[in-house]
Symmetry: C2
Subunit: 365 residues, 2 copies
């Protein structure tokens, strides 16, 4: 079922259908391809919290479109931006995209108050959201090109969670590199961690890999250790939800364990993320706020209890991998290798791009 | 719902209800406590393969009772023993218990042929099965006593899979140590890995912990890395399915990754297993045959597909942890610490016990 139809996880709808944001409901995949239309910001915030829309880069896009939606409706735009920004705490892109659109709205509306901005403000917020989406697609292509250089011929790549077109306005982050390797004939096999508790690997990455015709094999997360020990992994590629100034990477829970195992087995461990994921205001790994999610994500599956009722659960959505365990970070601007604060800063400092963490709207807040 | 009712995962039924083996159906826990009665060996072999009955020590007991069942029925006892022995390949206890009972039957029946033995043979096989069960209960108590010395006051212990009364004629292996620590007031918290794919931690260990009134918290397997990094684990305790002569331990998939992480974080990693788990005929880790199980264990959950139909899966039931990562092995005869071939051999060589791997029936075959 290889298909080249582009995946559209998020679409802006103009009137008369809109203004609205249409989301591919990622919680229903792969069983159903259904769409959710958010006509106001509370609906969008709920969709973000429930992971209908998810993935660091796409959250940046969604946040910006959310501000555009509030502005188009004549809502209280700063209040809407605040609600969107805090819908999930770890992925810094969400706050980043929201802030950029809010800033564009403010500049065009000509005031900083909570009253509805004029039509120019709404247009500016929407234009900014579209610019972020375009930039994300371009960043995805650039990351794929830069990352391809790290993939040897015949590579057997292990990945965790979902980092493809479902998380991006382009082809994604780590998965974009995997796609590039596949197209270049370098990919022998993609190993897909199922990624408990929400099974984004089994549900989403396996689905994207099948769509793209990539040879792939699913495994339980805890089987990755034995797989590496058996010599069947040449490279680990993951995305990131936040990169601290010291190069520490917050990503889907389980990433840190993979990095430790990769180091033990001499397997390169590479993170692929746009510069919008780098947060210079977070100095180091311990400063990253890790989101904890509901017990039921672990204690129930497919609507059925898999643990005794009332069992207490420790359910962090993310963990933090120190820079020392990361072989390289692939960004749209090139590689950070080795991963040091200086190298990360050098790459960030060279930009005048809308997507850069050094852009005024990001740093000034 | 703390209860002191003993768990009976396996019972021998005499006529008129028997001869038969009654098994607590562990695949239905914790939702239902239902029992399966095996009146012949093919039913038992099927129950072993489907994990109705499971866990290394209990498989030894089940194998021996299976031989007793075949003998009581007048079946072809050697053929039955062969079928039972190979129902699952990794847990050496299954073969060990089966062989012991077969040997007892042969000695009492007075011949080595495939024809049914006399009543004395059936009685001898049953007596041997009962002796193995009794010995397992005693071994469990001895392991608990020896292992308790490794548990500091206020310990937060992480465990993987299920190692309690459900896998034993006693209180189990690692879980027996955990129970002893709880009774001694030393256990602050038990962290329970859910243990994908079959969720023996979520379904069975959480259920046993609740029954025993042990404070416990469930987590996704891949969250254990972040948990250790956060400094909330003082000790990792697991069971074993086979211990090679060099001290390598085959145990539930995910164990090896925990051992690597424990080493990184300076957390002791301790294996608890009866001597019947030690296989001197397996020289080292790479010689251990690892069982691969059906794709559907990973790609389906609670009867629902969680990956696209036809997704290929890598599903080893076990992995192998090298001796160098293991702080100590706790057996009924004491500790193997450090885990070296010599220390393991010394402990094994001192026995004249029915449960010893050096017993003639085990080594001679």
């Amino acid at each position: 079922m290889t298909t080249s139809d582009p995946l559209l996880p998020l679409r802006w709808l103009e009137p008369p259908g809109g203004p609205a944001i249409e989301l591919l409901d990622q919680t229903r995949l792969p069983a159903e391809e259904t769409f959710l239309t958010c006509t106001d910001v509370p609906q969008l915030v709920d969709a973000i919290a429930r992971l209908t829309v998810r993935g660091a880069p796409l959250l940046g896009v969604a946040g910006a479109y959310g501000v555009a939606l509030a502005a188009a409706r004549g809502d209280d735009v700063p209040a809407a931006a605040a609600a969107i920004s805090t819908a999930r705490p770890t992925a810094v892109n969400l706050r980043w995209g929201t802030d950029l659109a809010l800033r564009a709205w403010r500049a065009a509306a000509g005031h900083d108050g909570p009253v509805p901005g004029p039509k120019a403000g709404a247009q500016a917020a929407l234009a900014q959201a579209r610019a972020i989406a375009d930039q994300d697609a371009a960043a995805s292509a650039a990351m794929a090109a830069h990352g391809l250089g790290l993939v040897p011929t015949g590579a057997r790549i292990l990945t965790h969670c979902n980092t493809g077109a479902l998380v991006s306005a382009g082809e994604g982050t780590a998965f974009a590199v995997i796609l590039a390797a596949h197209r270049a004939g370098r990919l022998a096999r993609l190993w897909v961690d199922e990624t408990r508790p929400l099974l984004q690997g089994a549900r989403l990455t396996a689905w994207e890999a099948r769509r793209a015709g990539i040879p792939h094999t699913l495994l339980a997360d805890s089987a990755a250790a034995g797989l590496m020990a058996s010599g069947q992994v040449d490279l680990v590629l993951t995305g990131a939800d936040r990169i601290a100034a010291d190069g520490s990477v917050a990503n889907k829970v389980g990433t840190y364990g993979l990095a430790v195992l990769a180091r033990r087995h001499g397997v390169p461990f590479v993170v692929v993320a746009p510069m919008s994921t780098v947060d210079p205001r977070t100095p180091d790994g311990p400063s990253i706020e890790v989101e904890f999610r509901a017990d039921e994500e672990v204690s129930c599956l497919a609507g059925q209890a898999v643990a005794p009722a009332g069992t207490s659960v420790w359910n962090p959505a993310f963990d933090v991998t120190p820079a020392a365990l990361i072989t390289a970070i692939v960004t749209e601007r090139g590689l950070v290798q080795p991963v040091t604060p200086g190298n990360l800063r050098d790459l960030g400092g060279s930009t005048d791009s809308v997507a850069g963490p050094q852009s005024a709207s990001y740093v000034e807040r």
